[in-house]
Point group: C2
Chain length 420, copies 2
């Protein structure tokens, strides 16, 4: 079925330039965009058109790294850096997801908030619990938004309640892989999720690498987030030159289907390894601020051709509402620029690219309105944002991203289907 | 008249420790706090008590640096650094405030938003226009919130429409000084406001120094925000060793009554000058991110005994809602810590101190609930912020600051008077 939305369509076709089409037609052919047109082509003349007036039509937001069970902790506990923070705040909360009633209550609220935030695809860490992870996958399916959900693997260096055995980890991961892989077109998929190197024994990483290959799974984890973490990995795997190569060694950087969060302290050698495997980078600036992790050289990654998207990293980050991460990505790049003049700051257009088409690439042809892209769209009513006369559409978009909120998102489409 | 509010009272009595008093009584004696008590002292037994249940009662937010006419530009134009940004975005908008109708329309909206943001005192730059500045002072008086409002002085290096002559600048400033000084207890006062050194001729700065002294005025300006700006000041005043000493030379750092925004690139010598005059520092982290200005060494200033508060710096910053600046202050200090290990990041308690009692000091005994402080208070209903069981009051406050919004502020008091 074909339908058309008429409005001010803005999307990031290129990395550094917005495509701005005032009072134009976004043509949706079932799940996909059939393009955006200033006037409706002859072939679509009979399709129904909804005129959204002066509203903005933009792609859905992409969140390529977040932890669903930590949602309850957002906004508290930022007095610690990564490793003590995990022990003090994160592990105690995640262990509660052994209780399926607890998981049900909070995962419902989490999915509702994720959806209302305008995020149409997300790459999600659940906890290490099989039942709760399965529940989260089902709740995501019901919500109408898409992405990946992973059961965390962690058989060492964790808290007593949260740590799992090698055997349970392999067994439960295999069950989920069997249940939720095979359908390439599924909107919500299972993703292999070793927490990070210090949490997974070599034996488990070896096995997970095999599972990734056998079921053709995507993989997500953390990389080079914090200097103490990097030193710890070096201590645990002194025979492997770098943190990145530990994942590579165990088959956990499958080409084109791995996303690594943070990538702040990677050295040149590691960047080459990431390039070799076309590893996707999840930039999580709010988390990197909150946990004093540092600033990732995102402009460098973009210039070197690596794929990058933005992650809220709840609860290292403190909000699921991705425009705040988009603003923080610009801020982080500006502070980075002050001490690294060779890398210019992210422009607003570049940050919006990361928020939409950049992150969307991890989910397929997602995050743009070019013909053939899966049609994830938000309709933005910015009429309550006071503006000066004569503002351009680019300026209206920037102003919405910097100063708007969830209330400005009046409609949400995912894969062509209106879900709000 | 004495009245009591009962609730969970939290304030920053010390610089690095919150005072947390569950289900306690804030006693308000006319304009001032008569203290906070776990149980009501005998002398107040007959005073009316309003029980606010489980709500939080915290001091009003203090915004020690912002530009009212730039409010319309918040959230746009962050592709430029300070000096080109002034020319391209700021000066054209400010020049519109020559039109009193325009000023009336937008200053009303601005004051409404400032008040609804929970800011109970603000230190405000108007534009250089006499009429519009007078109007803004009157609108602030009507609103019930307090602070300082200044007419900007700028007789060089500006746009053609916005620049004023030395004569007009002196004449209009003197008129406002006469109209709005003398009453030390006024809730809204006039403040002398040379834009910054490059905008004011030596002749004008000399005269403004005399006016400051004659009328015992407070002074606000900008200092060491951007490296190009610092170089420009050096070029304009090559006979004076530093930017800070230019202000000092012209009598524009009157002891105990000057606030300087930013203070990012000050050298050791300048810091000593600021200490000598007990100059107040307005830390504006959002603006410093947005305009790629750098990060101010706030922990150093605090350790050296300088007074610091937070400024939204609209529209260098993009929101009047001060909790976002509070979060950004913590973030900025964490990134600063990564490269300056000798200065620890701001704790949440320290950032909340800056937001309330720290900034409040510029307005008198303001920003705390200690006995004798002018009673500016916010009542926070955080019941819609999902929390885990057993959260402490400190954690609830942190969560509100990180994830709440204006909607959580259900009552506002300024100088003991309920204004919302």
């Amino acid at each position: 079925m074909i339908k058309c939305l008429k409005g001010n369509v803005i999307f990031a076709e290129e990395k550094n330039k917005l495509k701005v089409m005032p009072h134009s037609y976004l043509v949706i052919n079932n799940e996909r965009s059939a393009g955006v047109y200033e006037s409706l082509p002859e072939e679509y003349k009979n399709a129904p058109v909804e005129d959204l007036g002066d509203k903005l039509i933009i792609p859905g937001f992409m969140d390529v790294h977040l932890h669903a069970p930590q949602w309850l902790n957002k906004g508290v506990g930022y007095s610690e850096e990564l490793l003590p923070w995990l022990q003090k705040y994160t592990f105690p909360l995640e262990s509660k997801f052994a209780d399926i009633k607890f998981a049900e209550k909070y995962y419902k609220l989490f999915v509702d908030e994720l959806k209302s935030s305008g995020t149409t695809r997300a790459c999600i860490f659940a906890s290490r619990h099989y039942e709760a992870t399965k529940l989260l996958i089902e709740l995501m399916k019901e919500s109408g938004i898409g992405g990946y959900v992973g059961k965390v693997n962690m058989d060492r260096n964790s808290s007593e309640e949260l740590q799992e055995t090698y055997e349970d980890s392999v067994k439960e991961t295999t069950m989920l892989a069997k249940e939720y892989s095979g359908d390439d077109n599924a909107l919500v998929k299972f993703i292999l999720t070793p927490r990070f190197v210090p949490s997974t024994t070599s034996e488990l990483m070896t096995k997970l690498g095999e599972i990734a290959e056998k079921y053709n799974l995507h993989v997500q984890s953390h990389l080079d987030e914090n200097v103490d973490e990097v030193a710890w990995v070096k201590e645990l795997h002194s025979d492997i030159p770098t943190f990145t190569e530990v994942y590579e060694h165990f088959g956990l950087l499958p080409d084109n289907r791995t996303v690594m969060a943070h990538c702040i302290h990677n050295n040149d050698r590691e960047i080459e390894v990431l390039k070799k495997h076309n590893t996707f980078i999840a930039h999580c600036p709010l988390s990197n601020f909150n946990l004093a992790s540092g600033i990732a050289p995102i402009k460098r990654y973009m210039e070197e051709g690596l794929d990058v998207g933005l992650g809220s990293d709840i609860s290292g980050g403190h909000t699921l509402y991705m425009p705040v991460s988009c603003v923080a990505a610009v801020s982080a790049s500006k502070i980075y620029h002050v001490s690294h003049k060779e890398y210019s700051p992210l422009t607003f257009a570049e940050a919006f690219y990361l928020l939409t088409k950049g992150g969307g690439k991890f989910f397929g042809k997602v995050g743009s309105f070019e013909e053939g892209y899966e049609c994830d769209a938000l309709v933005i009513d910015d009429s309550n944002i006071t503006s000066i006369d004569g503002m351009t559409l680019e300026e209206r978009l920037e102003k919405f991203i910097y100063t708007g909120n969830r209330g400005n998102i009046v409609r949400i489409y995912c894969r062509g289907k209106q879900i709000k």
